[in-house]
């Protein structure tokens, strides 16, 4: 099968999301679609999947133009999609989820669950997916859930499988397994479209890489000869610094002191288990770990959003264990939250309003209960310019910004005041290459002015590059305190998985 997109143009009010895009995909190859957020990858795939109708251009399947009015048409034509956010019923078994919508039925329309099991087992064996048809979805790790999604797509006879940022939710080990699965799919004669903004992955897995920028395909590169910086430059439109450029740090006095801190989650499970560490002025301490090992709860406790059950948190020697978020803010703690949509921004408020979200009560922005919007506005204009937030105006709703620009709004708000401690959780999750470079440089700049910086990230490369000291969190405990300059990513990965590098065990 050969799938062609010819001259696809899709306009939204005020923007051309896709501008005359031409792409060809053959079965038996991996096409990687790489581009920054807002480059038009998602729109293009929505067109391909029948969610949007293109304003111009056509989709050509084996030489014949086709029109997809809905995803059902696209599925019928052999296009399958694995979404970033899985569409699975958590309490159903693997087999039940897989056959949902195409249930094999026995007499009187009853569900033939044995047939369903057999179908799952058959596909699972053929593609080496190693799935248990009777496992309940919610008990499975994310990587396995993703394989269930893949089986769903394969059972609907997809010739082309589109993966939307498939590695975003996976651990390093799962990513490697995922790439094996992609190879199996190709070997079985399917085609794969792989959407990502991660350069390493694109180079690793693709047969061809198409680079999107501002709605246009700015070029196709051959992963055998292309380099990361070359692709990054095509994505952003200018040369990009891919390595964090930082001078050796000069740590000062202890700013944040955490002693025996324990934190429970909403269900009463201990998520942070007697954790102790400290962060000094002018130092970046990174906390690495696979998602869900207590990092979220730790950050919540440090920023006052969640009570700790035990232990002590001190800032500059002062106890702040039970201080409110506002008090901590006033003491010079900045917080870049891990989920910008849920916590960091109010999508329905304007950019200017979001830029003062944590600071509106400061003398600068309000007098008593009266907001001083003109001042807030002019400060916002300055921040937008200084932090390079790409927006036509400070008055538009922040939800209309791309992820990278939303994150810049948060970074601008949190870092643009005198600070003692800056806590950044997943500071570049879902952020494009150009913005990552910028946000990283801002964080290092903050360190160089003598702020203590705590970075929590599941992105191993990121914590390795930024940190002066690297802690690894596993099941609520800090299991390693490492010097990232002399530690390999492999070793950190082992700590993250709960084991110990062999050389350490022997030592």
């Amino acid at each position: 099968m050969q799938l062609e997109l010819r001259g696809i143009t899709k306009r939204f009010p005020g923007v051309v999301a896709n501008d005359n895009i031409n792409l060809t995909l053959k079965t038996g190859e991996v096409l990687c679609l790489i581009g920054e957020n807002g480059a038009g990858k998602s729109t293009l795939m929505n067109v391909l999947y029948g969610m949007y109708k293109a304003d111009e251009g056509q989709i050509v399947l084996d030489g014949a133009p086709v029109v997809f009015m809905s995803p059902a048409d696209a599925i019928a034509a052999g296009i399958g999609m694995v979404h970033q956010h899985f569409m699975l019923v958590p309490v159903f078994t693997v087999a039940e989820n897989v056959v949902l919508g195409v249930e094999p039925t026995g007499r009187l329309g009853s569900l033939d669950i044995d047939k369903a099991r057999e179908m799952v087992r058959e596909v699972s064996d053929r593609y080496n997916l190693n799935l248990d048809p009777d496992a309940i979805i919610e008990d499975l790790p994310v990587g396995v859930q993703q394989r269930v999604e893949i089986v769903k797509v394969l059972l609907r006879d997809a010739k082309v499988v589109v993966f939307d940022e498939p590695t975003a939710v996976l651990t390093p080990k799962e990513i490697i397994e995922f790439f094996e699965i992609v190879k199996t799919l190709i070997a079985a004669g399917r085609g794969v479209v792989f959407i990502t903004h991660k350069l390493k992955e694109a180079l690793n897995v693709a047969d061809r890489i198409a680079v999107l920028r501002r709605g246009q395909v700015v070029g196709e590169v051959d992963p055998k000869t292309a380099t990361e910086s070359q692709i990054a430059e095509m994505m952003v439109g200018r040369p990009v610094q891919l390595i964090v450029d930082k001078k050796p740090h000069t740590p000062g006095e202890v700013v944040l002191e955490v002693r025996d801190l324990s934190v429970l989650d909403a269900d009463g499970r201990t998520m942070v288990d007697s954790v102790s560490f400290s962060v000094r002025a002018g130092e970046v301490v990174g906390i690495a770990g696979v998602q869900g090992n207590g990092q979220t709860e730790l950050v919540d406790a440090l920023t006052g959003l969640r009570n700790s059950t035990r232990g002590r948190v001190a800032l500059d020697g002062q106890d702040i264990t039970s201080a409110s978020p506002r008090v901590r803010h006033a003491k010079g703690i900045a917080h870049i939250p891990e989920d910008r949509q849920r916590q960091g921004l109010v999508g329905g408020l304007s950019i200017a309003e979001n830029l003062v979200l944590t600071r509106y009560h400061d003398e600068e922005f309000s007098h008593g209960i009266v907001m001083d919007w003109p001042v807030a506005h002019s400060v916002a204009e300055n921040l937008i310019a200084e932090y390079d937030v790409r927006t036509p105006s400070a008055d538009i709703e922040s939800s209309t910004l791309s992820g990278g620009n939303q994150q810049k709004v948060i970074v601008a708000r949190e870092l643009s005041r005198p600070l003692r401690l800056s806590i950044a959780a997943q500071p570049t999750r879902g952020v494009d290459v150009g913005s990552i470079e910028y946000i990283h440089s801002r964080i290092i700049k903050e360190r160089d002015t003598g702020t203590a910086v705590l970075i929590v990230s599941t992105e191993l490369d990121e914590v390795m590059a930024l940190s002066d000291r690297l802690l690894v969190m596993y099941r609520g405990k800090i299991v390693a305190d490492l010097d990232p300059r002399v530690t390999s990513a492999m070793d950190v990965g082992l700590y993250m998985a709960g084991s110990r590098p062999a050389n350490v065990v022997n030592a």
């Binding site: 939204f12 009010p13 957020n37 807002g38 990858k41 998602s42 795939m45 929505n46 999947y49 969610m51 949007y52 995803p71 999609m81 979404h83 970033q84 956010h85 939307d164 940022e165 975003a168 903004h197 920023t303 006052g304 959003l305 409110s324 978020p325 506002r326 803010h329 917080h335 939250p337 849920r342 916590q343 960091g344 921004l345 109010v346 999508g347 329905g348 408020l349 309003e353 979200l357 944590t358 509106y360 009560h361 309000s366 008593g368 209960i369 009266v370 907001m371 919007w373 791309s402 992820g403 990278g404 939303q406 999750r429 879902g430 952020v431 494009d432």
Partner: protein, 386 residues
Amino acid sequence: MKIVAILRKVADRIARTSSFRITLLAVLSAMVVGAFIIILSDINKLQNGDILGATKTVGSAYWALVVGSVGSLRAISATINSATPLILCGVSVAVAFKAGLFNIGATGQMLAGGMSALWVGFAMDGPGYIQVPLAVLAGAVGGAAFGAIPGILKARTGAHEVITTIMLNNMAGFLVLWLLKTNLYQREDRTDPISKFVTPTGRLPRLFGFLSDRPDLVAHTGFVVAILAVIVYWWFLNRSTTGFEFRAFGMNADAAQYAGMHTKRLTVMAMMFAGAFAGLAGSAEVLGTYGYGSQNFAGDIGYDAIAIALLGRSTPFGTLFAALLFGALQAGGRQMQANTDVPIDLIVVLRALIVMFIAAPLLIKAIWRIKVEPTSLGQVFRGQGS
């Protein structure tokens, strides 16, 4: 068919210009459906096959609506009179909406406010310029106190405000019934639940009092209070720190908490503000329209207010216009009932239809064949950052 084409063009244009479009088209659609209802209910003419005659009924009914609501000074006065409590209760629901809370309790708050205002209205006999503001204010305080109850319950225990406000409406109703039978409130010569008269100095002055030859113009200065309330609401929402907190909290409670806002305090405050506005509506009815308190002076106003806030998208001026529209329908409906055989119940149907169409923008778009991007249908495929 050309008319249809023109209409569609107009509709298309409205659709593209603003979010105001849906509201306008919803009203228009409701009127169209209402027209069919009028025709279908005109049994006599339909039985005689007189479809043209039935169509004429539609014309005269809608014409009576217009004349009865804005056709004369008297009509305008009636519209204003009907709209006054609707504006205040609309703002009540709207301000809670903005903070993410669903205030079904405007009725109860209105009753609580009205009873407080009533007491100042009959127990005091002072100069009007002191008594009236005091009585009006008492209404706001009474409403705020009653509104605080569901707020505190929500903040402290998480009890959902929809449930508690509905329950409190019933409690307020019976509380009023009991109060009206006490010596404090009950009119001396009566055995039924009816209150003493507000002293003449305590009455809200009539809006058209300066026209001495027109005692039939019943609108009172409660309308001025309502307009002031809309302006205060606007200022509060857009210019005050607390209003900013309300909006942030209403749109994203997690972000509000992250930003260090005291979300529990905001919950209580929002319900108190809502109660205060509804309480003012009680003041206006008791001190302006009636001059005494009866068992059911709140009527369905508190429930209509939900539709009004929805129609006005909880914005200050949107709510004002929606309330004026509902008030006009109310006033015009009376005229319509008098002039034609169409019962005033049609107004209830029209309002219900408007709300239904507002709540179903996709239906509106489908009816008027407005070309829209299916973004609101939800994206299946989302970029990681989006």
